[in-house]
């Protein structure tokens, strides 16, 4: 028996001496921070890959915007500012973009100077089959005719057809600039594990699933007014552990999705910043499935929901009614179009007219996560009051997406975020996308035509007008009920100030001050 214990003990001692999970990055030793100013972030998820071609959605991204930079930066109000491009010109026909790049910008980890070749490489690699970019459509690579680099600091991009949101595409995560030299040195897989950017912080080390550390980049071209030298992001998946870690001072900040917890932490002296994320809570109906193929049933449903209850009781009036399915914070969102009319008696009358005088049995699907069960329960309760016999199915995210995508769920509740460019949210409900990500089964030629016209618009005004009409048409079909806007809260220890909330739910710390 003794030898077995000795064997197992040796294994454990080896694990302890070896530090267990090896760290990736420049330093495998436990950190010795000395006099460094360090902030620790609590995160429930992380970038599983650092390659912008493999980043899937804004939810995945948190540290990457501190490491990578783009030609232009997206501001909180949707406007654009120069970043790695100092200025740019657009030709009269709207097809040629000429960028003048910032000179003297250094890549992290001594990979040389940022040049026009890096811009060409960063965009064109999305089309490389070996890279396998999942953001090929997002960056509209097939609409790019050519990318020319007349000198090191000039880039000329020619489009095949006008894309009024082309500049915004370049400002989003799939427009991150990556180093050609680093790519040639580290290869495709190396890019996924070790990011090389030009941002205010450079990647230092990380243990996937545990923590990632970035350090101040002293050769950054910008001006960093803050004093934070190192940022450590700890992965904590249990929310109770996250709360305890914040109270215990082990983390300085985390994002709260629970309004009750936000209130609690504010009362304890923590600070809270609401982070706009173009997100809203909505209930969707599949109009190809019974009983929601009946317009009267859908209309009854729209009279059964009272958004005020959600806003007052669930969100403590920190959220507002949604004006459309595209949030108002989004470029093409309508602010006050949707005017809900809560009338449970009218709902019952409509159900009776539809042949369901004794009530209608329906199932509400949602995700069994930290934020969905409460609004799902309120929805169920309101539907019961309006003559529906509502069963609730709370399932794991993978099951949920399968059910709605395959057209097996007639009604669902979900928090949805609209990307900075609403194109995708608008086009997903066109006829060609059913079955698939047109979860509502909308087969409406008028809507299809309006979206198509918006996508082909030659000016922003024209696109906004077409998308506005398309949204009005969509809302008239009574298939997407936008219940309320939704923001998450960035809770911080009071010793941390000066961090900046940017567009796309991103928080930047280069001006942050740690007392």
């Amino acid at each position: 028996m003794l030898w077995i214990l000795v064997l197992l003990a040796s294994m454990v001692i080896l694990a302890a001496c070896g530090g267990g999970a090896p760290q990736t990055g420049s330093d495998a030793e436990p950190p010795e921070h000395g006099e460094e100013k360090v902030i620790t972030l609590g995160r429930s998820w992380e970038e599983k890959s650092w390659d912008p071609a493999a980043l899937t959605m804004p939810d995945d991204i948190y540290l990457a915007p501190m490491i990578y930079e783009n030609l232009v930066e997206l501001n909180i109000d949707g406007s654009l500012s120069p970043e790695l491009a100092e200025d740019w010109e657009v030709s009269e026909d709207g097809l040629t973009y000429t960028f003048n790049l910032r000179q003297g910008v250094k890549w992290h980890h001594d990979y040389g100077e940022f040049t026009s070749e890096d811009v060409k490489f960063s965009i064109e690699r999305h089309g490389d089959p070996d890279v396998g970019s999942i953001n090929l459509e997002n960056i509209h690579l097939d609409n790019i005719e050519s990318i020319d680099t007349p000198d090191d600091y000039t880039v000329v991009i020619k489009l095949k057809s006008i894309d009024v949101d082309f500049m915004t595409r370049l400002a989003l995560y799939y427009g991150n600039m990556v180093s050609k030299a680093a790519y040639e040195d580290k290869g495709i897989d190396g890019m996924k594990l070790f990011p090389v950017g030009t941002g205010a912080y450079q990647y230092d080390k990380g243990t996937p699933g545990t923590k990632t550390e970035v350090v101040r980049f002293n050769d950054w071209w910008g001006e960093a007014a803050g004093n934070v030298d190192r940022i450590i992001a700890h992965i904590i998946t249990d929310t109770n552990t996250m709360y305890s870690a914040l109270e215990n001072g082990e983390i300085d900040t985390f994002d709260s999705y629970d309004k009750d917890k936000t209130k609690e932490f504010i009362s304890k002296g923590f600070t809270s910043d609401s982070v706009p994320y173009r997100q809203l809570l909505y209930v969707g109906l599949n109009m190809q499935l019974e009983p929601f193929d009946n317009p009267k049933v859908r209309e009854a449903f729209f009279h059964a929901i009272d958004p005020d209850v959600f806003i007052k009781d669930l969100y403590y009036e920190t959220e507002t009614a949604a004006g459309s399915y595209i949030p108002a914070e989004s470029k093409y969102g309508l602010k006050d179009h949707f005017q809900p009319s809560y009338d449970p008696e009218k709902a019952k009358q409509l159900l009776a007219e539809a042949g369901y005088a004794d009530g209608l049995e329906v199932t509400l699907w949602s995700i069994n996560d930290a934020i969905s069960p409460a609004p799902a329960t309120i929805t169920q309760s309101q539907l019961q009051d309006a003559g529906f016999k509502c069963e609730m199915q709370l399932v794991e995210a993978g099951v949920f997406f399968d059910k709605v995508r395959e057209g097996e769920a007639g009604m669902w509740l979900l928090y949805n975020d609209t990307p900075a460019i609403a194109d995708h949210t608008m086009t997903r409900y066109t006829s060609v996308n059913y079955p698939g990500n047109n979860w509502c089964g909308i087969m409406d030629k008028e809507y299809d035509a309006l979206v198509d016209a918006g996508m082909k618009a030659s000016t922003e005004e024209e696109k906004a007008a077409k998308f506005a009409d398309a949204q009005k048409r969509l809302m008239s079909l009574n298939v997407l009920y936008p219940v309320a806007t939704y923001h998450f809260d960035h809770i911080s220890n009071s010793r941390l100030t000066g961090h900046i909330i940017c567009g796309d739910g991103i928080v930047r710390y280069h001006n942050a001050v740690l007392e």
Binding site: V12, P30, L193, T210, H234, S244, A245, F401, N433
Partner: protein, 314 residues
């Protein structure tokens, strides 16, 4: 004995292959497409199709199985869909974290349980027995995450001797990072092993050879810990072996509560994003560990009870 061990190892091979086949098909029966789960609710049909092509999920299931099985026989567990790295590499990064937790949790739990179980048996029907039986019942009925939260509240929040986040570095020692999860696991396991030790000891203490040992004038300590406990070990070893084997799979809850990055959490993360190669690889590794621990438990039977070895020889 060597032949016995060899036969157990040979029997383990079809077991592991069986586990692989079962896991391969079961994970594909779970609703949820890896492409949709990985790419999110806003993914377009084109993105999803391309993702499936890139990862071979568009091929018939029999072809997918053939490729995966061939690779499995070569020791290749494939590339993780969510970690973008070979599954084997990811698993062997996380395994030591769970192994140390399981080892120390079971070790300390067992040592404490032997002491408490013997004490309860010796004081049968009196207050120490009642108290320890109540403790064991409580420990077995409380969920692990609940014990874990209390350990966090007491030792991290109130006493501040351990961190809430159990990853070492940044001023946290290796032993500090282990204390919370090990204590939680030890408390849970201690309860089960205490009950087993108590009942096994009660049976042995009524045997003739114990009376003989006492009548020969041996000290009570030698009677209890050498003669009685030595002979009561068989059921205890079974329970300890079982606990150690299940600790690898059961570490999921502890690793979540203490923000610890082990194989249990890896499996859960894999299931959440439908990372098929990762689920298969992790399950196979846990199955291999269970088989190995069972073989070791069988060997220990022979060491603690010579009659078993005699039976084998015959």
């Amino acid at each position: 004995m060597k032949r016995y061990i060899l036969s157990r190892i040979l029997f383990a091979i079809p077991t592991i292959i069986g586990v692989f086949i079962l896991v391969f098909f079961i994970v594909r029966l779970i609703p949820g497409d890896p492409a949709v789960t990985m790419l999110g609710s806003n993914a377009t049909n084109e993105q999803i199709e391309r993702y499936r092509e890139q990862h071979g999920h568009d091929k018939p299931i029999a072809v997918q199985f053939g490729i995966a099985f061939k690779n499995f026989l070569k020791g290749d567990m494939g590339q993780s869909l969510s970690w973008y790295r070979p599954v084997r590499e990811v698993i062997f990064e996380k395994l030591p974290r769970t192994a140390e937790l399981a080892f120390f949790g079971i070790l300390f739990g067992t040592l404490a349980a032997l002491l408490l179980g013997v004490t309860a048996a010796v004081h049968r029907g009196r207050w120490p027995d009642l108290l320890l039986t109540a403790f064991a019942s409580l420990g077995m009925s409380l969920p692990t995450f609940y014990i874990g939260l209390w350990v966090l509240v007491i030792f991290a929040m109130k006493l501040k001797i351990i961190p809430v986040i159990s990853s070492f570095g940044s001023g946290v020692s290796y032993w500090q990072s282990l204390f919370g999860p090990v204590l939680t696991m030890a408390l849970g396991e201690c309860a089960l092993i205490t009950r087993t030790t108590r009942s096994s000891m009660l049976e042995i203490l009524n045997e003739d050879f114990i009376r003989t040992a006492r009548s020969k004038g041996l000290s009570e300590k030698i009677v209890l810990y050498k003669h009685a406990l030595g002979n009561a070990l068989i059921p205890i070893v079974t329970v300890v072996g079982y606990s150690l084997a299940t600790a690898f799979g059961g570490a999921i809850v502890l690793e979540t509560v203490f923000a610890r990055n082990g194989i249990g959490k890896l499996l859960i993360d894999g299931i959440n994003v439908r990372d098929y190669p990762l689920i298969q690889g992790t399950t196979i590794v846990i199955a291999i560990l269970m088989v190995l621990i069972n073989i070791i438990t069988d060997i220990i039977y022979g060491l603690v009870d010579p009659r078993i070895r005699v039976g084998e020889n015959k």
